[in-house]
């Protein structure tokens, strides 16, 4: 896996439109992002339910962190 793969994951985790495009055409979107064949293949098998749940969870965490008076991350892991 490459830095580009991590960047691609970060994009589909935080960008609703990018995630929608990816789920419609996983291999094509991965190719357009410059990922290699093995990375494209890996993404065709993505856990779709989990991806949506994780993206929603990340969005909630970002929203919570942006609220005032939060002195620590909304979640410690």
């Amino acid at each position: 896996m490459s830095a580009a793969f991590e960047a691609f994951l970060a994009r589909i985790y935080v960008d609703d439109e990018a995630r929608r495009r990816f789920l419609a055409e996983p291999r094509e979107e991965a190719a357009r992002a410059g990922l290699d064949a093995s990375e494209q293949e890996a993404l065709t098998a993505v856990d779709r339910v989990g991806l949506e749940l994780a993206a929603r969870s990340f969005a909630r965490k970002r929203a919570a962190a942006s609220r005032p008076r939060r002195r620590w991350w909304p979640f410690s892991g």
Binding site: M1, S2, A3, A4, F5, E6, A7, F8, L9, A10, R11, Y13, V14, D15, E39, A42, L43, A45, V46, D47, V49, G50, L51, L53, A54, S57, F58, A59, K61, R62, A65, R71, W72, W73, P74, F75, S76, G77
Partner: protein, 283 residues
Amino acid sequence: MRDRFGLGWRNELAAGILSNLDRIDVVEVIADDYFDAPPRQTRALRTLASQVPLVLHGVGLGLASCVPVEARRLAPMARLVDAVGPESWSEHLAFVRGGGREIGHLAAPPRTSATAEGTAANLERARKTVGTRPLVENVATLVDPPGSDRPEEDWVAGVLAASGGDLLLDLHNLHANAVNFGFDPRSFLDRMPSEKIAAIHLAGGRWIAAGRGRRLLDDHFHDVPDPVYDLLREVGRRFPRPLTVILERDGAYPGMASLLAQLDHARAALAAGRAMSDTGRAA
């Protein structure tokens, strides 16, 4: 050295923690909260560290990555560790950004040799900058990390072997991943080197709908469930090294009596495991 039990330091819990230090052996402070804090807050933290054993817990470094961690992200941790003098510090086996985007939370990395090697390299960078190696914590994930080619236990064991670091084993994260992705959490424990587990996190979560099924969300808003205590007992049975056990709570705070009761439950579970161990039976 003995097993110790403590709480995550949160503003909402501060008064309760300070008034119950006879039942709290250690506190864990979120380091990132203090990276840009005024000096008086850092001094207050140092004062706290003089009253009760204190460990720092990082959440934003994103060390589990092929991408080298930037020196500018390690520098605040190094300054804080130097200023506060914690017993130890820890970070997650997660990536939190990529391609200039902040995910805003802990994302499980693809479990590959490349990310294991990248993580070990980042842990070495952290050690050189901060002065000590962090404990590393397994993370919960709602999505099976895309691109993974090995089970979580193999990836974590590989990172520990390559980095020489120790594990902060989060038992609710392990429980959540096990129920969400259908593996036996004891198979994870089977792969962990006995001497590498230094600390434990306990927490709770809730079930959320997931397609036609459900998944367990590790939200830290709920009490520690029984399967996590069962795992703690199993840890005590298997691993003789003294442990620092931290109960994490990030919201929906119950009264201190409830949190202290959960610490007592944890003490009893770990002690029961110790008693079942070869060493315990021989004693």
